[in-house]
């Protein structure tokens, strides 16, 4: 099986989708000739022509709004927002339009569109190239929100998202584009080709939406996380010596609650981990669901580890990022509660 980076896996998914279905069109800022600032669409314009993969004006509302129109027409647009931090101008189109089209027309008009966006920090991108705004999507009914943590899933989830009949927000943890990053920014960079999840099947396959996966079985505690933090959690489990079960949620909404509940009922302890700011983050929803479903099994308060409630500060990136040391410490404290 070929080994790929996450960028290559995403590109491959787009290639497979465009090859199979002439309705799939791909566009966004710098997406056409150049192939995207992260090169996720490189080569697609040359292969499929400039009416199927093209550059757009810098107007995120226009990109998503035009995508909605195309989706309603009958195409399957896959649009790129250059950074998740720049999705806000498109937020109205996403929330008020894409998410409600099916509902308000009672199914007459639908919006099978994917909105891709690189998310998360770790590249010294400062306040405007580091955000993780997933909670702003999970609060919006009508949307699905997906965050892959590796090349294999990225391709399979993206294909599933493109084939989904509803709008899907597809958040790509940019710090994982080139390798599985566990938060040890001071150690040499590792590459996907050395990682089993860098193995990406050729051609078409899907990783179904709304299915979490256990990345590491464990009995002492459950870690609920997604994206970059999956790798941080794995490192923290290792380094803390806590036998944590690490669940990669993959799709945040709809959520695979069964997998979560089954695990927490076993371990009795739960840590929720994300890079986004803490307050009103998606972790809050996870806590609310877990305490409701597993109240009688819980042996300790559910803990949250998350980005601090500040903007993502450029120079203090590694003080801000919830790295393995912080997670390991939280795990140790979690299992110590008697």
């Amino acid at each position: 099986m070929p080994r790929m980076t996450m960028i290559e896996a995403i590109r491959d998914a787009l290639d497979v989708a465009m090859g199979a279905d002439p309705k799939v069109v791909v566009f966004g800022e710098d997406v056409g000739y150049f192939g995207g600032v992260f090169r996720c669409t490189a080569g697609l314009q040359a292969k499929y022509g400039k009416t199927r993969c093209f550059d757009t004006p810098i107007n995120e509302s226009g990109i998503v709004g035009a995508g909605i129109g195309m989706a309603a027409y009958g195409l399957r647009p896959v649009v790129e927002i250059q950074f998740a931090d720049y999705m806000y101008p498109a937020y109205d189109q996403i929330v008020s339009e894409a998410a409600r089209l099916r509902y308000r027309s009672a199914g007459e008009f639908t919006c099978p569109m994917v909105v891709r966006m690189p998310t998360g920090g770790g590249i010294f991108g400062g306040q405007t190239h580091s955000q993780s705004p997933e909670a702003l999507f999970t609060h919006v009914t009508g949307l699905k929100t997906v965050v892959p943590s590796n090349p294999h899933d990225a391709k399979g989830l993206l294909l599933a998202a493109i084939e989904d009949p509803d709008p899907v927000i597809f958040m790509e943890p940019k710090r994982l584009y080139n390798g599985p990053f566990d938060g040890h920014h001071d150690r040499p960079v590792t590459a996907w080709k050395a990682h089993e999840l860098g193995e990406v099947p050729e051609g078409h396959y899907t990783v179904p939406l709304a299915r979490a996966v256990v990345r590491r079985p464990g009995r002492a505690a459950t870690v609920l996380t997604y994206g970059t933090m999956v790798h941080v959690a794995l490192a923290a489990a290792q380094e803390s010596g806590v036998d944590a079960e690490v669940i990669d949620l993959r799709t945040l909404l709809p959520l695979d609650l069964d997998t979560i509940v089954a695990s927490v009922r076993q371990t009795g302890r739960c840590l929720v981990l994300h890079e986004a700011t803490l307050t009103s983050g998606f972790g809050a929803e996870l806590v609310a669901l877990v305490q409701a479903e597993c109240f009688w099994q819980l042996e300790a308060p559910i803990r949250r580890v998350a980005g601090w409630d500040t903007p993502y500060p450029h120079a203090h990136e590694w003080s801000y990022f919830p790295g393995p040391a912080r997670v390991a410490e939280a795990l140790r404290q979690l299992v110590e509660v008697a």
């Binding site: 195309m70 309603a72 009958g74 189109q93 339009e97 308000r104 008009f109 009914t141």
Partner: protein, 417 residues
């Protein structure tokens, strides 16, 4: 440095535009320059936008005071007297429908209604320039598209009543119709969002090598919204086959058009910033609207790209049933509006060309009234907002997604369904 001593200058001050008249003042439309019918040239559809700039600063008019259709736009018109009579009937039906629904709202058979009084010509005439498969992205004030498109009046009423036959299952505010089959995109309550969607739809058609075109609709006040800009940027960049309609009815709720228009003379002028050909048309002149629509839709169909069309009209009624315009404009302003009433003008034209009589008009009015009342009875027999057969609240959980996810299933269960 070389800057002037700023303290020598008078202090700055903020200009806040105001309408010429307010309640208590005498209505005054002297500022509205109205060229004679037939006086504006009709350029070829592939004219260089730079050479037809003047068409955004005038008013294209076809019907003169004597009810004659005159000038180059009249000559190019494709419509026969039967079509005109049909158009008259569409407008009269819309007006009768509005009148009934306003009463129904006051009777609390529905929560809300928005009327078209004085603006009937625009959507009714424009609809004629469209072909099957074309798609409108309307605002809440284009029900004329449905009526002229043959959509059943009864279904419209059922939507307004949110009864069991409402295709939107009671989920949408009254008047927020949707009909794919009739080329009428589901209306959004959010202003301007659909302008860019229309452009996207048109781009989709062009990408697919289709023949279908789109029509975007917006009000004067809503042109200030950012998605208006997004639409013009995308439409001009990709030469999308779309007609960008602006209905300038002088008011946005209580706010006069001068607040949205800023310093430019007209809304049509906005197109010039993008190199988009732009027309300004008498929106109360059924023939002028149709003539402009035929020009603009032909441009789109021949892949010549977008056209901006501003329809100059007047919102004779309140903004909605929640609004009382006498609080912000003179009550007599509507009567003073110089472009007249669209129904009256088309009627007079038909009489002038010997295709209609006062008597037939009275008769038609009575027929239409009876038909609307009859239809209303049928709709009400099904149900109204608070009575009769209504969609089940269980349905509230449907169509959020194509397939209901577990958390919604659970909630529906919790809700008792």
């Amino acid at each position: 440095m070389e800057t002037p001593e700023q303290d020598d200058l008078p202090p700055l001050s903020l200009a806040v535009p105001e309408p010429e008249v307010r309640p208590g003042d005498r209505p005054d439309f002297s500022r509205v320059a109205i060229p004679p019918a037939g006086s504006v040239r009709r350029p070829p559809i592939d004219a260089d936008p730079e050479h037809i700039r003047d068409l955004a600063f005038t008013i294209i008019r076809v019907l003169n005071r004597d009810g004659q259709a005159v000038g180059p736009w009249a000559e190019a018109l494709k419509i026969d007297p039967e079509g005109l009579k049909e158009g008259l009937r569409h407008m009269m039906t819309l007006r009768a429908y509005d009148a009934r629904m306003l009463i129904a709202q006051r009777q609390q058979k529905t929560s809300f209604y928005m009327q078209h009084l004085g603006e009937e010509a625009i959507a009714c005439a424009f609809r004629r320039a469209l072909a099957p498969g074309d798609m409108n992205f309307p605002t809440y004030r284009q029900a004329g598209l449905l009526i002229a498109g043959g959509y059943p009046l009864k279904t419209m009423m059922c939507q307004v009543y949110s009864n069991d036959a409402d295709p939107m299952r009671g989920r949408q505010l009254p008047v927020m119709y949707s009909s794919k089959e009739h080329g009428f995109f589901t209306i959004s309550g959010n202003l301007a969002t659909q302008y860019i969607q229309a452009v996207g739809w048109a781009m989709g058609s062009a990408i697919s090598g289709d023949h279908r075109i789109a029509a975007a609709w917006i009000g004067d006040g809503s042109t200030a919204e950012s998605d208006f800009h997004a639409a013009l940027v995308f439409a001009s960049t990709y030469k999308a086959p779309v007609v960008l309609n602006i209905v300038n009815n002088q008011w946005a709720i209580s706010t006069f058009q001068g607040i949205a228009r800023g310093g430019s003379g007209t809304f049509a002028a906005r197109g010039h910033g993008f190199g988009i050909p732009s027309l300004r048309v008498d929106g109360n002149d059924y023939l002028a609207v149709l003539a402009a629509a035929q020009w603009a839709t032909e441009r789109a169909r021949r892949n010549l790209g977008p056209t901006v069309v501003e329809y100059v009209t007047y919102r004779a009624g309140g903004h909605s049933t929640s609004d009382d315009p006498s609080a912000y404009r003179p009550a007599e302003e509507s009567a003073a509006w110089p472009l007249g009433d669209p129904i009256l003008r088309l009627k007079n034209h038909l009489i002038a060309i010997g295709e209609w009589t006062e008597q037939r008009h009275v008769q038609a009015e009575a027929e239409i009234h009876a038909e609307v009342v009859e239809t209303q009875k049928e709709a009400e027999a099904i149900g109204t907002l608070h009575q009769g057969l209504r969609p089940s609240p269980a349905d509230m959980f449907e169509d959020v997604y194509a397939e209901m996810p577990p958390h919604l299933l659970k909630q529906r269960h919790e809700a008792g369904f």
